[in-house]
């Protein structure tokens, strides 16, 4: 239908919104990141690379990168591994698979802010279910473990307010929330593997489950894994809800949970330092885009066999 003009009406609203809502803000962020702009103040000065300089020199931002990477590098491998593990286990069962699937998927559906508040209760040092459960284990064989004995003697850790534990506790909640999603993606990937392949592998002498996993499951899940890893990275880079719920000010004990999204929020919205906020945004975007481009590249290069 070369004469039809219909496509213009179909495409232009989407194009317009893409430009205004997605592309323009990137330019705006880029522009503002070189200024000392703040909302309400009319004059914004051009400050060159100063904002970026701050990000890469000040200790606050060093902590920001530290917290972000600690979180991301904990959550991504664990959610991927647990997602894959759960998917493999569930896939190999004949019964109750649907039940486990449903249970593991519940956290994905739940508002993270609500669940974060619940976790805060669970981790509460005095009334929390976690420490009270741990206390019940005192006096048993568990005390042979040094860490446990120490906990019994004094107190068990203040999970969310102790500088040494906070980021790991937050990461734990991140894993809790995210691995069900990866599990579902892996389950979908597993259904795509033809059953005959396993039969063939068995005929060829791959006797143990591990051998079959190495020979078939893992390589056949290649594309799924690339996708799962990328989406886990992007999701975990965006962690915010928990941090804001636990530490409305300042990003946790000695800024140990000061993740990037929270930094953008704090600088830009709370302190109205739009220039710095925009600079963090730009750095953040670069990370995310780098990851996605890496994914595309990997998919095209390595995983052609499906």
């Amino acid at each position: 239908m070369s004469k039809s003009r219909a496509h213009i009406w179909f495409v232009s609203p989407a194009l317009f919104l893409m430009f205004v809502i997605l592309l323009l803000p990137i330019l705006v962020a880029f522009g503002i990141s070189f200024t000392s702009f703040s909302l309400g103040n009319s004059g914004a000065e051009f400050v060159g690379w100063k904002n970026y300089e701050q990000i890469f020199t000040r200790s606050t931002y060093e902590k920001m990168f530290g917290a972000t990477f600690r979180y991301v590098l904990t959550v991504v491998p664990l959610t991927v591994a647990l997602g894959l593990g759960a998917a493999l286990l569930i896939n190999s069962l004949t019964r109750f698979g649907d039940l486990y699937k449903t249970i593991y998927f519940l956290p994905v559906m739940s508002a993270l802010i609500a669940m974060a508040i619940v976790w805060e209760f669970a981790f509460h040092p005095t009334i929390g279910i976690i420490n009270s459960t741990l206390e019940r284990g005192c006096g048993t064989f568990l005390e042979n473990w040094g860490w446990y004995a120490q906990g019994c003697e004094k107190t068990f850790p203040l999970w969310l307010t102790n500088r040494d534990y906070a980021i790991w506790t937050v990461s734990f909640i991140g894993v809790w929330q995210g691995f069900g999603f990866n599990m579902v993606l892996y389950l979908a990937g597993l259904t795509g593997i033809p059953k005959e392949l396993y039969a063939a592998a068995e005929m060829d002498g791959a006797k143990s489950g591990w051998e079959r996993f190495r020979l078939i499951t893992w390589p056949m899940l290649g594309p799924t894994t690339v996708f799962v890893v990328t989406i886990s990275f992007i999701r975990s880079f965006q962690v915010f809800d928990m941090v804001e719920a636990f530490y409305p000010q300042g990003g946790g004990p000695s800024k140990s949970v000061y993740v990037m999204m929270f930094a953008i929020y704090e600088k830009g919205i709370q302190q109205n330092l739009m220039g710095v906020g925009a600079a963090i945004t730009v750095v953040f975007l670069l990370f995310v885009m780098f990851l996605t481009v890496m994914q595309r590249w990997l998919v095209e290069r390595r995983t052609h066999y499906v």
Partner: protein
């Protein structure tokens, strides 16, 4: 011959697998247990960690009620009733829920109205520049909207749109993911079907709504799930653009507000609020579990 009946066969490996999965399930369910349990218990039970799952449900004295000058006998309340009624009375929770519905539903409908025609054009119409538009869609797929929240906020602030429904909805009206997903789905619809519709006398616009839309229901469901889950649960964006005006709070903001001024007495009601906010999606999930997982799967397969 009983060991040949697979249903009753005892298998060590299956038992170990179940043990591992059950342990995982317990950890996953822990916060849900805490949430529901606390929403049923009295403040004293919460503070002392007693009462089991349901609490003893012994009526206790509502101090606030007494303060208002009521007789003590009138102020005795059953814990779970107190928690849930307080959740609705202390804050305009109904209003928050309504806002949540308004925002998620509007976002979804606008996304569909914008994305569907574009996806159709990209999948089935030949026109100059189609490849470019599609490349642009692929590029925009890389941009997480949360990441560009700050410039978006500035733009909305300059337009004077913060603290409006528009601020909650507008940034989400374009879903490149939706365009991409629907385009991929439309590619699988046979050209013959569209040609048949043209022969039958349908215009392009009516083809979208009368032919493509009904055939795309599974993909659309998948997209609906994604969209609704994401925006019902979204906390970050409302937190930024809604400042102070409680009339516009979405459920997550309402809950957060509750937390801000929660003292010991209010843990129960707060957990009740959390239950109320989390339940709609979980209930929908329970009802259409298969569809949900299918949907996620379908959307995951880019």
């Amino acid at each position: 011959m009983s060991d040949q009946q697979p249903t009753f066969r005892f298998s060590t490996s299956a038992t170990i697998k179940h043990a591992v999965l059950i342990l995982g399930a317990l950890i996953v369910l822990l916060p849900f247990y805490v949430m529901v349990s606390y929403s049923l218990k009295s403040p004293a039970e919460i503070m002392q960690n007693t009462g089991g799952f349901f609490g003893a449900q012994i009526p206790f004295r509502d101090d606030y009620c007494v303060k208002l000058g009521n007789a003590i006998a009138d102020c005795m309340v059953t814990p779970w009733i107190y928690n849930y009624t307080t959740a609705f009375e202390k804050a305009p929770l109904v209003r928050y829920l309504l806002n949540g519905v308004i925002v998620t539903v509007s976002i979804f409908f606008i996304q569909v109205i914008i994305a569907l025609p574009c996806a159709y054009a990209l999948a089935k119409l030949k026109f100059w520049g189609r490849e470019t538009v599609f490349a642009l869609v692929l590029f925009c797929l890389l941009i997480p909207v949360h990441a560009i929240a700050l410039p978006l906020y500035i733009m909305l602030a300059k337009l004077g749109l913060t603290n409006t429904y528009a601020a909650l909805i507008v940034p989400w009206t374009i879903s490149v993911f939706g365009i991409f997903l629907m385009r991929q789905f439309f590619m699988t619809v046979p050209d013959d079907l569209i040609d048949a519709a043209r022969m039958d006398g349908m215009g392009e616009y009516s083809i979208i709504w009368n032919v493509m839309l009904p055939t795309a229901i599974p993909a659309l469901m998948a997209f609906a799930i994604f969209s609704v889950v994401a925006h019902w649960n979204d906390y970050f964006w409302p937190r930024i653009v809604i400042t102070g005006n409680r009339e516009l709070f979405t459920p997550p903001l309402g809950l957060r507000e509750f937390k801000g001024d929660a003292d010991g007495d209010n843990f129960g009601p707060m957990m009740a609020t959390a239950v109320i906010i989390v339940t709609p999606l979980l209930a929908a999930f329970a009802l259409a579990q298969r569809r949900f997982i299918e949907g996620i799967t379908l959307s995951g397969m880019k």
